[in-house]
Symmetry: D2
Subunit: 308 residues, 4 copies
């Protein structure tokens, strides 16, 4: 099988300060669909086009940020295999039983060298995208909110991103797509990695504090949908960090903005396909501004400092 191992980002569990306000935001502004609530008070969402039961899980807390980010793997055998490989790499893993998260099978949980909690799982109930598997219709945007295609990737901040890179490449089979070097031309400031042919399934930036979230990202259909998203944000007075603009890195178009708890989110479109026979693209410290924001050609103040 040409597409094996880790398939794609599956779910992100995000901490929010006010659940009612957050549910309103993730449904009416983001256009996600609420799919359930569990006994611990977590609220589950998926995009309209996703088939699996959930991709965003909100948990009420007194500080914003990300609890965990999970990847779906091909099957249960793959899950077992990756668990063993993680342990062989010296990573301590934990099993979270099926059902702890709604409609989700057993998960293998572990910590990244940057302190983030990552999970792998093989099973999540296919609740469908409303079109079925027989003679489907084309999806049309005829409803409230941004309505992204899918929860697509995240960017995390922490110290030991070299350790992360080694783990993702050697153990989980990810490929390095792009990297930014610091002034010394040697040390990575940031790396973008994929487990498929996307320009990124996860990315990370070197940072003084571990376990931090820069943003969770959602994919849009077109640059025109990026404009529609910005218009919806302004109509709803959502705090926009930057955009619409384009990244030099990945070449996607983008808006960074904040949920009501201050978690940064992204909607983006485009970006090239990366295959493992290609070389990674390297950005020098001098050009990092153009790499991150291709049109402004400089970092805004918030990019390297505001995380949750």
């Amino acid at each position: 099988m040409a597409m094996t191992g880790v398939l794609r980002p599956g779910h992100a569990q995000i901490r929010v300060l006010d659940m009612e306000e957050s549910v309103k935001f993730y449904t009416e502004v983001m256009g996600l669909v609420e799919t359930g609530r569990d006994s611990s008070g977590r609220v589950y969402f998926k995009t309209r086009q996703e088939r699996d039961h959930n991709s965003v899980v909100l948990r009420k807390s007194d500080r914003a940020g990300i609890d965990l980010f999970a990847f779906k793997v091909l099957d249960k055998a793959t899950l077992e295999d990756l668990d063993q490989k993680l342990q062989a790499h010296g990573v301590k893993t934990e099993r979270i039983p099926a059902g702890e998260m709604l409609e989700t099978g057993e998960r293998v949980r572990f910590q990244l060298p940057t302190g983030h909690t990552i999970e792998l799982y093989a099973e999540k109930k296919d609740v469908g995208n409303g079109h079925g598997y027989v003679d489907p219709e084309v999806e049309v945007i005829e409803y409230k909110g941004i309505s992204p295609i899918r929860m697509d990737h995240c960017l995390i901040y922490g110290g030991n991103i070299d350790g992360n890179l080694e783990l993702f490449e050697k153990v989980l089979g990810f490929t390095l797509v792009e990297r930014v070097k610091l002034e010394d031309g040697q040390t990575d400031l940031a790396t973008w990695l994929t487990c498929s042919t996307k320009a990124h399934d996860i990315a990370m930036v070197r940072h003084g504090e571990d376990g931090k979230l820069h943003h969770v990202s959602f994919q849009l259909e077109s640059w025109e949908q990026v404009l529609r998203a910005a218009d919806i944000m302004s109509r709803n007075r959502v705090s926009i960090d930057i955009g619409p603009t384009r990244h030099g890195i990945t070449q996607g178009t983008t808006i960074y903005f904040f949920d009501p708890s201050g978690n940064r989110l992204e909607v983006f479109c485009g970006g090239y396909d990366h295959y493992p026979d290609m070389h990674p693209i390297t950005w020098s410290w001098e050009e990092v501004g153009r790499g991150i924001f291709y049109h402004d050609r400089k970092l805004n103040d918030a990019f390297l400092s505001v995380v949750t």
Copy 2:
């Protein structure tokens, strides 16, 4: 590694009746870049954004059609492994030495049950896309012709598409993405398969004659680029089969048109991502018109009959 085995379509060798006229068409109308000519008279092209040396090879002949369609695999070990698996499956394979095709390594060649020649290879020279791997710029369309992103897939016509499906799934690790059933609800009229997360890397339609080409397809950036392509075709009096329109199957937008030799080509944009944990979508005979052409909701006369 999450992306293994067969990576993607690599090159299509297409027969043309008049080389000079064809070179003009593939450069000035299609916007491809000529990358070389070999001693046998074949002319090689790539898109501006492709990095490997060639993806389209034209060979002069007295009848149009496709000589062969090739896939790039991860590495030489994969090539050896797949060769053995093909033979174990009862497929006779042949080795084409490195250099027979410009800047291309050794190829494993075999026949599909539908009589088409398929090749696998691990090496083709990375001649770059003009942007390099360090601090690249974003590609901008500032030149003549359609300028697709890449040669993306093909649709072939032949008898034993069941045999093809078995070979692609069991031996080459492809996944079935969509299928159309005949009136009996059992027999496949057509199948769409992927070796990655694309909605299709190759597709096939059941047909009375073996070895036929329906179309070779090129990917565009956006629906607006589909319009631009149609405008360029009309300005150049290119024969358009159908479009701009949308496929129900894969949900991509599309134009079918003909090169000067009568080979059907496609430019398309979009289509959802397919992962191997998803079910294939099935189209009933009654809805095949909407499946193929979502807006017209009926096949045009040429779709099932005009092949080269």
Copy 3:
């Protein structure tokens, strides 16, 4: 004042066979807003972005077609002036009192040489577009249906289009934008006229029978909205005549389709601006196919024959 006299198309009264089915179509598929019903059973609609009370009026009848097409003029003085000019030109006019049509002032009604009923009026209640005139928001498509910007123009079929041209140019101050010549190179097959800077506010085709409607047209924001409209039509099994495609004439992109009574409608986007210092564009008979449908480069069977 640089923009004087006749301003723009104001309302079209269209005959439908089944009012309930038609109201459902014009609201849920077209995305128009119902603004009222009068004592004679007519139902009034506007687009979401139009400010005047109505632009489409449906009347139940046993045959489809158009009762009348109306233009808004600058003010009451202009209405009086144009009435006198029409009479001086030998055109018999009739006054329809204010209130005969909901929220609409007095109308001057007359017959074109092609037998169509045209109206002029100066007053229609500004009921707003939901955004007001103070600190408005940007309109975002977050609801069901195609949701065009405005009712934009119509194309009528009849015999004496030369008489129409003279009347629109000499009496009503329209400008000829484009024309198609018959085989003789002299006679107009069709003409496109504007009272503003649009590529057309009304168009007409020479035809054996008077008083016929080819289509009423609605403007969309972008080519992507044209695709969305086609998708909505297919999801609702609306009969599409042709499209999405582009006109050579006016250069707009377009879909022709039919309401449940068989009246042809159009949604379109784009088209250049015409100013009265420019020359009209002339199409020869040999190139009329490309002029009407730029991508197909031939008329479809329905274009010259199917009218209501």
Copy 4:
């Protein structure tokens, strides 16, 4: 005639510091076509789609800024009539003989109350857009540079914008489309005016110094072309002021950027149509940020201070 009097912006004469560098910028980055040079050293340009000989004229100077902005009027009788009306309004006018500017007829020149030089003229040679008036093709972007549709409008800064408004409305027949009020709710900070159905043919902001230019603006086809323009700017290291973004005022999408002399230019797309029967939209001081930049919802530092 429904479209009379002043038709549209015709030409802007812009001062540049280095002619060679400027010609390179306006051709290779802006994608304008050089149409001539006169004996005084001025260089003339038009867009590819404009038919009249020139719309941008560059003059070498030791300070940047705008020499004059001109409007084309319907015909010579209109020119005479407007000259008399200007004089009757107390405005001193001057005649610039035909030929002083290449391929341009006699001009009526006068000063606005804000100190800007405005010209009216009726004749400029139609050199065509390369498509002719018979059986034309659709324009396709297949060449270097941004390639706007037309020079569209300008925004000027000066003291007595109330005097400007009176002159444009009462003498030249313009209509007020939008206005921004200062904190007092009474005084205009800025006004947008049209002589056609565009959201603006000229705009003005109250400012301490007379005769200043904020920007000259060029129209693009689509939001995707706005992105292409931003990409071209970054590839060419053009200084971008802000964008891509959207204006709340006029609702157009936009990029502000600078030519090599520091003159601000704009490329924009969209904006609604305004007819003289509509009311002007008023923005309060509290919402001016959202009015100018709909997504950022605040003015950037440069908007009110950087002019040439």
